[in-house]
């Protein structure tokens, strides 16, 4: 059954080719069926791979597709790897992907670039599967870059929208550029590995590090730190997280699929995949853990002060990715993967629900507008973001609980899961991470374990708080705009995936329940480093208490005194003052980058361009020295030498030739054939005569 694994790439590829080639002649229904069907078929293949693995005693299997690069002794096959880790990712990508495809059929209804959207989505699925199924770092990198490209394409999907009509395109560019920084780290890491090992195959590399890693000293540390740079770019960690909030410019299904559930987890996957290398480099591990925890904390604080519904979720995503990174940094690979899975469920659910809310509010805006104009409600396409009030601003919402009942309930499920309330999925996975941190800090006695634990616990509190704030602002109280007042529930293509994801969010914790440890046993077959620690009741209890306290606080702050209207200041603003503004401005990170890196870069570029290139090279060297010298020499040559001497000589020559032609040659051209024949005859006689004389 392993030989079926190439199909997992073939199906989405076929879907994208069909839609790319025939999309313009197909209607939305068919395009959607093709794209979703392709992803669903890939999901079936992934399930088959899982069954195949269980039938194979969970032994990893590789499938050779082709020889890819062969240079001298270097062989890089195009080979796919089927082991428990990659199959987990495949299941996640295709399963959640399929649900989001179905959701997108409804969400993107009426968009003029409908087919293109699904082409991009399928391309993304293909690339993501390349990433997770590759058997070497280079294939992983191909997928890595491929998903980066898709991310860019999809963030800028509505490239003509946004600030100044280029805001979305700019967001896409930002994502791309920031990702490149991370990619550079990854690339250099690959060069180092190849230089040391001579191969990029996972088996070779990991085997090398496991057995000879200690001998090469700092190599493992260097490689892992560079890997961390790559992971920080892709998984939006400090300091490269700035692109992810901007990525919310893309359509909401994209945010759900790429920027919450799948692509951003690539960094975690990569670290998990390289676990043997990391285990050799405690410094790197510590860095990873602290970075993740720091990111989790920082993003959590920022999320508290945002008004944009998707932006809150974006920072929440960064925060949760920080949890995962921290987990893998602490050696809790299983916990990290576990949280990756559950997070994929409830964050996809939250994003899709948020999309549903936005969609509903936009419909409401359209309906209220047409009602105002006295026109019967029309079906406004979602792509037309023409609402005069921002449909993503939570201050414009409120009271949607009664208007979008289903969306409310699934959103609530997602939020509670994210907040980590027993017994939903988030509770189990987050607690495992906290337990890992506790274990490292208290049991093993590493100081950074304690730090990580504190930071993560704080982040968890913030998580619960901002989710409560969001729920309250969006769904409770009174509608604060006419759009929210007219908001309506969405069609089943959008809500069905929500329900499925909600169920998964509730039950996702069952994947790795304490005592059963299904996921851990499953993953252990890939690396023996994948171990976990047992359930820690005190940690669980404390985190639950903290979460509930945060929820209570959120309800108290926001529900007791609801926001009066859309322009009223946030309740927290009164309490926290400038701290709130600091948080709302995202710790001024973008500004910091602009002031430091960008300013420096611009100054240097300007210096090079104006001072060095323009003033020195162009104005001085070229214009003064070379050009002037050339000009004076040319003037001397052209004046007396050329005009006076050469020109006059040839003019005279030409006059002579002309006179000769006019006087003598021209009369010979009589135009009579017979005359010419006579000339030929004369020549013949002359030649014969000469031959005879000789």
């Amino acid at each position: 059954m392993f030989e079926l694994v190439p199909l997992i790439l073939a199906f989405p590829l076929a879907g994208l080719l069909i839609n790319a080639a025939f999309g313009r002649w197909l209607d939305e229904k068919r395009i959607g069926i093709v794209a979703s069907g392709a992803t669903a078929a890939a999901f079936v293949i992934a399930v088959l791979q899982m069954l195949a693995l269980s039938g194979n005693h969970f032994h990893a299997e590789t499938v050779l597709l082709a020889d890819w690069i062969t240079i001298g002794d270097m062989h890089l096959p195009w080979q796919m790897r089927v082991d428990t880790l990659s199959v987990t990712m495949m299941l996640l990508v295709t399963g959640v992907g399929a649900l989001i495809h179905i959701y997108a059929i409804g969400y993107m209804h009426g968009d003029p670039r409908f087919a293109r959207f699904f082409v991009f989505l399928n391309l993304f699925v293909t690339m993501m599967l390349v990433l997770v199924s590759g058997d070497n770092y280079l294939m992983l990198f191909v997928g890595w870059e491929g998903v980066g490209l898709c991310s860019y394409l999809l963030i800028g999907f509505w490239y003509d929208k946004g600030d100044d009509n280029v805001g979305n395109a700019r967001a896409g560019r930002k994502a791309f550029v920031v990702n490149r920084v991370g990619d550079l780290g990854f690339l250099i890491a690959m060069f180092l590995i190849f230089g040391a090992v001579g191969s990029l195959q996972f088996d070779d590399v990991l085997h090398f590090f496991e057995h000879h890693g200690a001998e090469v000293g700092g190599l493992a540390t260097a490689v892992t730190l560079l890997f961390l740079v790559g992971a920080a770019g892709k998984s939006a960690q400090i300091p490269l997280f700035v692109w992810l909030p901007d990525a919310m410019a893309g359509p909401t299904p994209v945010s759900a699929l790429i920027h919450a559930a799948t692509m951003v987890t690539a960094g975690i996957y990569m670290i998990a995949r390289s676990a043997p290398i990391f285990s050799l480099a405690p410094v790197s591990q510590m860095t990873v853990a602290l970075l993740g925890a720091g990111t989790a904390f920082m993003a959590g604080t920022i999320a508290v002060a945002q008004w944009d519904i998707k932006r809150v979720l974006a920072y929440s995503t960064i925060s949760q990715l920080g949890f995962m990174v921290a987990a893998v940094g602490l050696g809790g690979y299983v916990a990290g993967m576990f949280h990756l899975l559950t997070h994929a469920f409830f964050k996809a659910l939250l994003f899709l629900s948020a999309g549903s809310v936005i969609h509903g509010v936009e419909h409401g805006a359209a309906a209220s507008e047409s009602a105002a104009r006295g026109v019967a409600g029309e079906d406004y396409p979602s792509g037309a973001h023409h609402a005069h009030c921002d449909a993503q601003d939570m201050r414009n919402m409120g009271g949607l609980k009664d208007r979008m009942k289903l969306t409310f309930w699934v959103y609530l499920v997602g939020a509670v899961a994210l907040a980590g309330v027993f017994p939903l999925a988030g509770f189990w996975s987050k607690d495992e991470i906290l337990a890992d941190a506790w274990h490292v800090g208290m049991v093993e006695g590493h100081w950074h374990g304690v730090a990580v634990y504190i930071l993560l616990a704080l982040a968890a509190i913030f998580t619960a708080f901002y989710m409560t704030r969001q729920i309250v602002m969006v769904f409770f109280g009174q509608p604060r705009s006419s759009a929210a007042e007219h908001a309506t529930e969405n069609p089943p293509t959008m809500t069905t995936p929500l329900v499925i994801l909600a169920v998964l969010s509730v039950l996702g914790g069952a994947l790795n329940l304490p005592g059963l440890h299904t996921l851990r046993r499953w993953l252990e077959h890939t690396h023996h480093f994948f171990h976990g620690i047992d359930f820690n009741l005190s940690v669980a209890l404390s985190s639950t208490v903290l979460a509930l306290a945060a929820i209570w606080l959120g309800v108290r702050v926001y529900h007791r005194r609801p926001l009066e209207n859309a322009t009223a200041p946030d309740q927290l603003q009164g309490v926290l003052g400038s701290v709130f503004n600091f948080l709302h401005a995202k710790w001024y990170v973008d500004e910091l980058y602009a002031a430091t890196i960008l300013r420096l870069y611009e100054w240097q570029a300007r210096f090079l361009a104006f001072q060095v290139d323009w003033d020195f090279w162009h104005d001085f060297v070229h214009d003064r020295v070379i050009a002037a010298a050339f000009r004076s020499v040319a003037a001397a040559l052209s004046g007396p030498v050329d005009k006076g001497g050469i020109d006059r000589f040839f003019d005279g020559l030409a006059l002579l030739v002309r006179a000769f032609a006019v006087r003598i040659l021209r009369p010979l051209q009589t135009g009579y054939v017979r005359n010419y024949a006579l000339g030929v005859m004369l020549g013949v006689i002359a030649v014969l005569g000469m031959m005879l004389v000789n």
Binding site: P667, T670, G671, Y672, R674
Partner: protein, 100 residues
């Protein structure tokens, strides 16, 4: 056996007549015929030489000359027809557009 010299002399005479035809006649078709006559006299010389030296190569050359002559006549006559279509005449003296 007639000496080759006689054939060469005859060939020279025929060739000269052909030359005069080309130089003197104005009718394009007749000029063409004169050229054919010149080719023929050359052929005659070839065959005579071939017999003189007992080598067949001369006859082969005649064969090629005939081929070339056939092609030349076809193209030449087509040209004459084309000229006639535009000038309504085949007088070579009337085709003097190239006068200097």
């Amino acid at each position: 056996m007639i000496a080759t010299t006689y054939y060469l002399a005859l060939s020279a005479i025929l060739f000269s007549i052909g030359v005069v035809g080309v130089l003197v006649r104005r009718n394009a078709i007749v000029i063409f015929m004169a050229i054919e006559l010149m080719l023929n006299s050359a052929n005659l010389a070839f065959v005579a030489y071939a017999r003189q030296f007992g080598a067949l190569d001369g006859q082969i050359l005649v064969f090629f000359v005939m081929t070339v002559a056939a092609a030349e006549v076809a193209v030449g006559l087509a040209l004459i027809v084309a000229i006639f279509r535009s000038k309504a005449s085949i007088d070579v003296d009337e085709v003097n557009l190239l006068r200097g």
